[in-house]
Structures are given as C-alpha cells and as structure tokens.
C-alpha cells in the first residue's frame, strides 16, 4: 500500500491506497471528485486531464502514488465559489460542448494552454495544442472558439475568436 500526502484543490489530504491506483481513480473514488472523467482505456482521450503542480497531465496515466507530495487541481477546484472560471464561462457561452463528457479535460487542458502561451494564441496553435483531447460530438469548432475567447478575456487581447 502507498501512503499519499497531497493537496487536492487547496485541501491537504492523506490517504493509504493500493500502489496500482491511478490518480484518476483516486480522485473519483476516494476523493469523490467525479468531474474528472475516464473516457478511454488507452491514455489517448484526455477526458481525465487534471493539473499536477500546475501542469496538465492525464490522471489515468499516472499512479496516485506518483502524485504524492504534489498540488493537484481538478475541474472542481478551478474556480472559487459560484463564479465560473473564464474558460468555463467561455465554453458555456460558445457552446463548446454537446454531451459534456470531454469538457472537463478540455477545460483543464485549455487553462494550461492559455497560461503557457501568455496571450499569444491563434486558431492553428489551439488546434495543435488540443491534440491530446478528443471530442466526439462538437467537431471542435466551438471548443476552439471558446479557448480563443477565454484567452482574449484573460489576456485582454483583441477578440480573435470569430
């Protein structure tokens, strides 16, 4: 068994889990944070993306034990209180989802993309950066629009989403 000490959405947690427990399963089953989804069994879909020490990683491709000592942020911890994070709001406003299954991973990935590019984002870059997140409903157009709109809002750039 592995003893975990980690900070999940700002809260310190300590648990003992099976060494083979994936971070995604730990978050969903032990922490009851079911906003993190598992969409495939092959580490390809990105529905499980969370931030570990500020970096977007696939929580289905990391053992919970590997994340011990880390700061983990899930979709539930992205905004405080009732206000949505700008990226969440943009996905809502631009209809960046249909069934919603991939959305939490998309949003966690998008927050990372926007932070990493410091406002300098165009459509081609967003599409390339979303390589690790699969959506089977939308055809991606509105997701890309949402990311660009959120980027513009967060970095005060000109509206480039249309």
């Amino acid at each position: 068994m592995a003893k975990l000490e980690m900070t999940v959405n700002g809260r310190k947690v300590s648990r003992v889990v099976d060494d083979r427990t994936l971070l995604a399963h730990f978050l969903r089953e032990d922490m009851q944070l079911t906003g993190t989804h598992v969409g495939c069994d092959t580490s390809q879909c990105g529905a499980c993306v969370v931030h570990v020490d500020g970096k977007a990683v696939k929580s289905c491709t990391m053992l919970a034990a590997q994340a011990s000592g880390a700061q983990v942020t899930t979709i539930e911890g992205l905004s405080s209180g009732a206000d949505l994070h700008p990226v969440q709001r943009a996905f809502n406003e631009h209809h960046g989802l249909q069934c919603g299954f991939c959305t939490t991973g998309m949003i966690m990935a998008s927050v990372d993309i926007i932070a990493r590019h410091g406002g300098d984002l165009d459509e081609a870059t967003v599409r390339a950066e979303l390589e690790g997140n699969i959506c089977r409903c939308t055809g991606y157009h509105n997701i890309v629009k949402a990311v660009l709109a959120a980027n513009a809002e967060m970095h005060g750039a000109s509206q480039a989403a249309e």
């Binding site: 592995a2 060494d19 083979r20 069994d41 390809q44 053992l63 690790g132």
Partner: protein, 264 residues
C-alpha cells in the same frame, strides 16, 4: 492493472539497489508508455522505481562544448530550454512535437530511448547527433546503443543518467505522424557537423531506428534537398502494418529527409 509496489528513490544509487533487489522491477521514467502498457496488462512489473524525483537526472546544461540532457528531463523542458534551442533547435523542435502536451509534461528522454519504440522520435535524434548515452555503469555511443526493436545495449540493472552531444552546425527533424497515435509513421533526423552528415530514420525500420548510408553520402557531397533526388529507398526491411505499407514508408523516408534537410 496487476498489483505492483511503488518506490520513490532519492538517488541513482538507491534506484539501482532497488532494481538489483527486485528482478521483476521496472524503472518508471515518465510512465507514458509503461503505465498504459500496465493498464492493458501487457506488462506486470512487481515493482516500479520512479525516477522523476532524482534531481541528478534532471536538467539541461552546456559543458566543454557539449550539451548534456538529464535522462529524467521531460519533453516539455527539452522543448522549452533556451540553451538547447540556441545550440540545437532541431532537437528542441522534435521534443515539442512528441505526442500531445500532457504526454510532454510527463514523458522523458531517458524513458523514450530506453524503451526504443520503433516509432519513437528521440532515438533518431540520438543516432543522428552521434550522442553518447551516459549510464550508471558506462558511456555508450548511440551507434552501439540501439540494438533492435524495443532493444538496447542496456543491462537489466543499468540506469541512463544523461545523454550528451556536440551541437552540429545544422540539424533538423521531419516526421509524418500517425494521425491517431501521433507516433512517427516515418521520421528523419539529419545533422551536419564535425562528424560529417548523419541521417537517422525512425518509424520505418522493422528493426527499429537506423542510419541511411546512401543519403548520408549524397548529402556529404551536397547538403541540399535536391541531392536526394536520385535516391530510391528500397522497401526491403521496412515496417508494414495497417497504417502504411513498406513501399509507402520508403517514399516517406525520402520526403521526410528532404524536408529535414530544407529545415536544417
């Protein structure tokens, strides 16, 4: 996933001792291949020895004219490192296009070359750069390191510490990624430096990464895409699967080589 025991050593010595004490243990570098493989129950290591928290295995530096990259340096750090980008932008660009952003935060150079997947990107760079692989036991030249598909010269209890190379005058990588897996269906890394021209091909060889001698000779005489015009790559010995025939891969080798030369 079958049961396993997770270890987090703080030093290379501790990691080596764990490997020696547990014959069915595996090193967990970034886990972006190993964890999916374990999920499919295609690998069942009794123990996992996590290398991500060993400071000595991480980072990029320049020493005595050589670039040194720690084995546990993730792709994202290789892609974003200013020293490397100045010395060998071709390698930084290669790292920037491995898999997807999530994989690049976790996956490491050492993990990639130790696994020697026939479609991985890094082996071609190591071979074309004539890199030296520094391990817990010895130094191995890239020409001797990659010994076949998923095979390397590493002993079971040997750990890659770093790789080093002298930055070439020119270097670039061009690949045709499989649109689903993002692995190289064919990738070609070319370099021109004091050791001459080296051309290494990944994703195409049924025996893993290999050097293309005919192209090296042609490019040594004239380092330009046009120098490759007269070369016909034989499909013999190339991979053939549902993604691409051997003949198509042969064609891709030439196309990717031209693009790499043009970009170098």
């Amino acid at each position: 996933m079958y049961e396993t025991t997770y270890h987090r050593p703080a030093s290379v010595e501790e990691a080596a001792a764990l490997l020696a004490a547990n014959p069915d243990a595996k090193l967990l570098a970034g886990g972006q291949t190993l964890v999916p493989t374990m999920k499919q129950r295609l690998a069942a290591p009794s123990d996992l020895v996590d290398l991500r928290h060993i400071a000595a295995l991480r980072g990029i530096s320049s020493e005595g004219g050589r670039i040194i990259i720690g084995a546990a340096t993730p792709h994202a750090e290789v892609a974003g490192d200013a020293t490397l980008r100045a010395a060998c932008p071709g390698l930084a660009d290669l790292a920037a296009h491995i898999g997807d952003p999530h994989v690049r935060y976790m996956g490491t150079l050492g993990g990639s070359i130790a696994n020697n997947d026939p479609a991985a990107d890094y082996p071609s760079a190591m071979l074309a750069l004539g890199a030296t692989i520094h391990t817990s036991k010895r130094d191995i030249g890239a020409d001797d390191f990659f010994t076949g598909m998923f095979e390397t010269a590493l002993d079971e209890d040997e750990i890659i510490i770093a790789v080093s190379f002298a930055p070439p005058e020119r270097a670039a990588y061009a690949k045709f990624p499989n649109p689903a897996s993002l692995y190289a269906m064919t990738g070609v890394f070319v370099t021109k430096g004091s050791a001459g021209v080296r051309v290494a091909v990944t994703g195409a060889g049924s025996d893993g990464v290999f050097r293309q001698a005919e192209m090296e000779a042609a490019l040594s005489a004239d380092f330009s895409p046009a120098a490759l015009d007269g070369i016909t790559v034989s499909p013999e010995g190339l991979l053939e699967d549902l993604h691409a025939s051997a003949a198509y891969r042969a064609s891709l080798i030439k196309t990717m080589a031209r693009r790499a030369v043009a970009a170098a």
